[in-house]
Symmetry: C2
Subunit: 335 residues, 2 copies
């Protein structure tokens, strides 16, 4: 591979001049600069980023450390991260710890060895996680928040999302709202339940059927829960589901039991997972946690910290959005 010396020789200048020409620094005659660039092009010269990083102390590389094997939630986040970083000419080193703390520590060492400018930590679980350690470079936690208050963590607002969902149901005239959601041990399930309950309470209402139905994040559980609701005999005209998969299961069972959605029962999901929400019959109104935006914001903060030095610690909650489809509106259902 050609080096600055090769380019210099070909252009008939010194290596210092080549450096200046390539980086547009210093005082160079336009003609000289052109000659250098020409020589570089002819040789297929790609400046060695390692040598540059060694000298300047910046590698224009950040590490993305995830606990989850490329799952449905981390993907949009990584997309957002890449989006924000790519614009700044920064490359991402991807490390998947598979939820193994040992492997994670190994990756942290690797990233430090590679002198990344900063690290983004993400993962499947919403529950606070132990920090990756005191590092000499800025770190941002996204989706998975750090237990330590001296770290910067960014995630979305489950409670606000749930309130959005319930308020939308109330606005469409529903007053008998049920809640079918995931396992109680999951923080996000508890937060959503709390937000939903609060929104109902503000309207002087409470969940029907004696409260939330806790279960799994699956369609199978959604179908089962809907059967439970129907069998209970208690009337209901709205269901807020903890996930789109659950909502889809509920929708299927309701339809097969002869309950029209949204005519008899309005349905709101959570996640805005396109595959689920759009294939649902009818297409699903749901809460979008804006995961890509989360990633973008996290990367933006990291960049600022890299440029500026220190990071401002704290927990940032980004708002969710309501995405209205036909499971709560009067539009005619699809095929």
């Amino acid at each position: 591979m050609p080096t600055v010396a090769d380019v210099a020789a070909r252009a008939g200048v010194s290596v210092g001049t080549v450096s200046k020409a390539m980086n547009g620094r210093g005082q160079l005659r336009a003609q000289t600069r052109e000659r250098v660039l020409e020589a570089a092009r002819e040789l297929g010269f790609h400046p060695n980023a390692l040598a540059r990083g060694l000298l300047t102390g910046r590698t224009y590389t950040v590490g993305v450390l995830t606990t989850e094997s490329f799952g449905r939630f981390t993907i949009p986040i990584m997309l957002g991260v890449e989006d924000a970083l790519g614009a700044g000419e920064i490359s991402t080193l991807l490390c998947d710890s598979r939820d193994d703390p040992l492997r994670e520590q190994h990756y942290v060492r690797t990233l430090l060895s590679r002198r990344v400018d900063g690290i983004v930590v993400t993962g499947r679980r919403r529950d606070p996680r132990p920090p990756i350690g005191e590092l000499p470079i800025p770190v941002v936690y996204v989706f998975a928040v750090s237990e330590s208050p001296s770290d910067l963590s960014i995630t979305y607002d489950d409670e606000q999302g749930a309130e959005l969902a319930v308020n939308h149901l109330l606005l469409t005239g529903r007053t008998r709202v049920a809640h079918v959601t995931g396992p109680r041990r999951h923080l996000s399930a508890r937060l959503r339940e709390g937000g939903a309950r609060a929104a109902l309470a503000a309207a002087g209402l409470d969940f029907v059927a004696g409260g939330a139905l806790w279960g799994e994040w699956s369609e199978v559980w959604g179908r089962e829960a809907a059967h439970i609701l129907l069998r209970s005999g208690e009337p209901f005209d709205g269901v807020f589901c903890g996930s789109d998969q659950i909502a889809r299961g509920v929708a299927d069972t309701l339809r097969e039991a002869g309950r029209a959605v949204p005519g008899d029962v309005a349905l709101v999901g959570f996640d805005n997972w396109d595959v689920m929400a759009e294939a649902c019959r009818p297409p699903l109104t749901t809460i979008d946690p804006n995961l890509s935006e989360l990633g973008r914001v996290a990367a933006g903060r990291l960049l600022r910290a890299i440029e500026g030095g220190a990071i401002e610690p704290g927990r940032i909650l980004l708002p969710c959005d309501l995405v209205i489809r036909q499971s709560t509106s009067a539009a005619p259902a699809a095929v």
Copy 2:
């Protein structure tokens, strides 16, 4: 950040000795080695990978260049790639070109600048793609195959997968098989159709309903196609679907039309996308293209090329597997 010099000073030895101790090379007294490692630990020393790479010419880094924004198909592939590379202490630089050739060229330059040891190219489309160019480092194409026969491309065998599916239908006693699949312009759709047709022909049969039904890779199309089949009046007892999403749509429509699956009609999908296959009623028998294995094999080949020098060009087709669930077996359906 501490350097070898700091460690050397603290341990009371020279930098050369530190290097030997850290890398387990050369002849060192065990006691000296221990003293150095101790000093390194105390200082929190992480050897600078850039400096090492600059000197040795190897960075223990490979680039993963994908055209797709972390989609459903590339994810398992990247997982497999990471799997094989992580074992070799190799880090991956992730670059998402978003199907933009300009962006792709930019990333190629970036990767060359960073002196990656090799590149894995992947992407959503199965149709052959233009190569990323003549590079001084080994490149492996996976899933997305290169147009150039001098490149190494690895993908799965669509035809063999389709044959597997149809032969399984035949084995369960079905003789009137329909085929519902994606757009005809997609190579994978055409290959699967060809494989399925060949398998039927080997048994002296052909598709019912005058041939394959070409459409979209969606549930909506699956539902629509099932209606078309039912309305045609032509009897059928098996459907091979080009994707799990299509199969799920077909399953829903058949059930609602009173046709039992697998009692009246057996159903086979393609992809083994767990979310779809498992939530389907009944759970779906399908073809698994073993994408993670694809990634592992690709990374393995790349590693060999990195160690050994040149890459052996060619096109490798890995076999698909049949995953049997209840849409073709007699077991009782779930909820």
